[in-house]
Point group: C2
Chain length 498, copies 2
């Protein structure tokens, strides 16, 4: 009978230990990670995924008032049926499995040529680590593209290929934020990659408001206000982030505004970070994309000292190759020693994925007139771009007709960011659910229609105003029904809480 | 004539401003980034790349005493001619460009089947963002693989796909390191991803020495010493990193040793991080890989509270798909709330690249006996594995015959880590060049032979001992000549500095 007490002791000792597990909790983990928020894949999206799981598991008996989820929360064109460009995929497939190139009649001549060129440069495989900066020949193709686009020289040594633009943005923010005395100027509203990463790296978000009444324009006095407030609080502004065309706002900047920003960064000695991932998504009549690099190079000599880093991605434009995680950044005006630090950060992660690098190459160097693939490429490109433009106009026009809703034109990018006027009763109903009012609106929209959009509070907005961000990416044969769902819901919601 | 003074004023004001540019310097940047070191792509490798550029630019007149660089600095098998597995690439190519599947006689039946299954799960494209955790069906295939491997249940919710194992390791370290009172136990020698990432996140490296005299075994008393030293210095050990099979040491752990480590982590309440990326690279006769998850599951009930995170990658094994940046981690024993934070970090980067995810799927679920591709798959796999084993033995045997060189057997992984005994004259010659002695040795080896290896000081070693890490990845028809070059250089070096 001696065993019982011993056993009890053992059990007691286990439970004491067990109280110490798990060792990693929300209290003991890194608090900067805990603080970071990323709304584009936040609460509403988690709920949408849950609904989709229910529908897939029980197609006929899911108990929801809709039969599909329409994901308008994220710029993910191919998931909504936008086709991949044939040339892009013929090249990636040929590099993946080169024996295809030997089969007659499978790949066009220019695909073979491009695949051969890339295979030679990569050591004849997509399965090897490349240089951490990227495959040299692809860096050169990017530099050539930038030269042609801007009409100014570009050095391949200034280019770093990255796994999507996000990785590049994060690397630059990591270098720039020394400690919690540093801040980064970001627009309000902004793409939450910036706010989340600044939180992660322990810096301060220095928000500057875009002027909604002026098509989301950036105003220099507002930037000066943000800089001056920061300095009053002992925060050192290290960089200014500009997203052009805008996300979530869809605005396109004019040249004068860009020059003013270069001048401001020069005067205040801050780095300019130009997020130009939507450079191929311009719908404003007569407007052509101009890069900050071009604007800078055409300004007076003293400005050439400015440190400018620009970002581009294969995820957007008319190619929409989000899943490839390809992108690049260009650094001009930076010390070589600083570029070496960017190289070192890249090398710790070894290299950007090679298929993503290949897609960057075909993005910056697509088929040219006379090439076997050119006609098909042009046809596919033009169809996607003209359809995106039609959908942008269809969506914003419809939203502007609704009571209590107003939406600036989507001049570029893939989003509309309408303002919704919520009644005191709607705000009270939201607060009763412990929800931000626009999150309440978006959740109701999802619950009633299956349409998933992101609350404006996830991007930032002026106090007391409410918005949501929606893409206009549902396919052409679906967008009208999505807009109808949004409109019917909105009218009903406004009626219910009037 | 009024313009001259004005112009002078303007010029003066420009130069004053110019003194403040660039704003981002080694002094003003983040100092944790500056501190981080990554030797695998460090000084010697930068020099090797420079030599290679010269050779390519001037094949007949480069002025170097060799005509090619042999990169033994990094586990990058395909760059040295290891072929990709046909099944892997047929599946990725088919997913990239599905019209291939309609061409008769191009793809085997099981490739079509797998590609169709994956395309359906991905929304019929590799160009869309997936769930940030990974494509659900691939998560399930990974869970099934782990169940089969270990004989214990695995929950797909515990799996996160990642862009290579490095990203997963970094995410976990980021969560674990709260501030500079936290430390992570890492082996000496270790893979520098760990030291670099701990530096980046502002934690302490708590080194524990592997026992070189006992085939690089991990000894519990040495771990206790490292923990006790940390606590004396006010550092809280949060996690223990174990690399098995070892990098750079090539050792394979036995089960008893693994049980001791689980027990130690349990007693000290620390997270166990198991880097098992070389699980398919085992050359020790009669030794089979056993995962830490299996060892843990077969221990007493109290241990099941332990938090264990395990890492795997598509870059190593017999597949060697480094350029794909594919991998996964499995978290067991962790709070759901903590897993949600890992999900959030993943979502800020959107998702792992889709082609990398596909390669994870074929790695964990390769062709089975009876499948059309099985015989070819088996033939390719066995040829690579038996060749790697032959090369491991050839290299270590040859190195052990050299005076002043001793090398433990490469029981696993892709590396040998020989110790070199350097004479006082060699050490003095190194110090005269302001170089660590083993870096001096490696630079001389590169300068004289074109063979690029990494100094032991980049991985850590006991004070006063010197090593280098070399892969045994040069192709079978090249490895003998690489070994001969190393041997001839070594004998000459020892003679020169005797």
């Amino acid at each position: 009978m001696r065993s019982a007490p011993v056993l009890r002791n053992v059990v007691r000792s286990y439970s004491q230990s067990a109280r110490d597990f798990p060792t990693l909790t929300l209290d003991t983990m890194n608090q900067q990670v805990l603080k970071a928020e990323y709304a584009v894949r936040g609460e509403i999206v988690v709920l949408a995924n849950k609904y989709q799981k229910s529908i897939l598991a029980n197609p006929t008996n899911h108990g929801l008032p809709f039969n599909e989820i329409i994901f308008c929360n994220i710029g993910n064109p191919q998931i909504l049926g936008q086709p991949a460009l044939s040339f892009f995929r013929q090249v990636t497939a040929s590099c993946e499995y080169p024996p295809i190139l030997d089969k007659p009649g499978v790949m066009p001549a220019d695909v073979k040529q491009r695949a051969e060129k890339l295979l030679t440069a990569m050591g004849r495989t997509t399965g090897a680590y490349s240089n951490s900066q990227g495959v040299p020949i692809i860096l050169q193709d990017v530099a050539h593209f930038i030269e042609q686009r801007d009409g100014h020289p570009c050095n391949a040594d200034d280019i770093f290929l990255t796994d999507g633009a996000s990785v590049g943005v994060q690397r630059m923010l990591r270098l720039l934020i020394k400690d919690d005395s540093d801040g980064i100027l970001i627009p309000i509203p902004q793409y939450p990659l910036y706010s989340a990463s600044i939180d992660l790296y322990g810096g301060h978000r220095l928000g500057y408001y875009l002027d909604e009444a002026a098509d989301w324009r950036i105003e220099v006095p507002e930037l000066e206000r943000a800089i001056s407030d920061a300095k009053k609080n002992g925060i050192n502004p290290r960089a200014l982030v500009v997203i052009n065309p805008g996300n979530p706002t869809g605005n396109c900047m004019d040249r004068k505004s860009m020059e003013d920003i270069v001048d401001l960064c020069y005067r205040h000695k801050i780095v300019l970070m130009a997020d130009e991932v939507y450079q191929d998504n311009i719908y404003r009549e007569g407007h052509n994309f101009v890069s900050f690099k071009k604007v800078l190079r055409e300004m007076a000599p003293q400005y050439q000292k400015l440190e400018l880093v620009s970002f581009h991605s294969v995820s957007k434009g008319f190619y929409g190759e989000c899943g490839k995680r390809g992108g690049y950044l260009e650094m001009v005006g930076f010390q070589d020693a600083v570029k070496e630090q960017v190289y070192k950060l890249a090398s710790i992660g070894l290299c950007p994925n090679l298929v993503g690098q290949i897609v960057v190459d075909v993005m910056v160097n697509p088929p040219k007139p006379g090439d076997e693939s050119y006609e098909l490429y042009k046809k596919e490109r033009d169809a996607i771009l003209s359809s995106l433009k039609r959908r942008a106009i269809l969506l914003t026009t419809a939203l502007n007709k609704l009571p209590g809703m107003s939406c600036n034109p989507a001049e570029g990018a893939m989003y509309a960011f309408p303002q919704i006027t919520l009644s005191p009763r709607a705000v009270a109903a939201a607060l009763a659910q412990n929800r931000v009012p626009d999150a309440f609106y978006c959740k109701e929209l999802l619950d009633q229609t299956g349409v998933c959009v992101v609350p404006g509070s996830g991007f930032g907005q002026r106090d007391g105003t409410w918005h949501f961000r929606t893409t206009f990416l549902p396919a052409e044969n679906q967008i009208q029904s999505v807009v109808d769902k949004m409109a019917q819901f909105h009218v009903k919601f406004m009626e219910q809480y009037k």
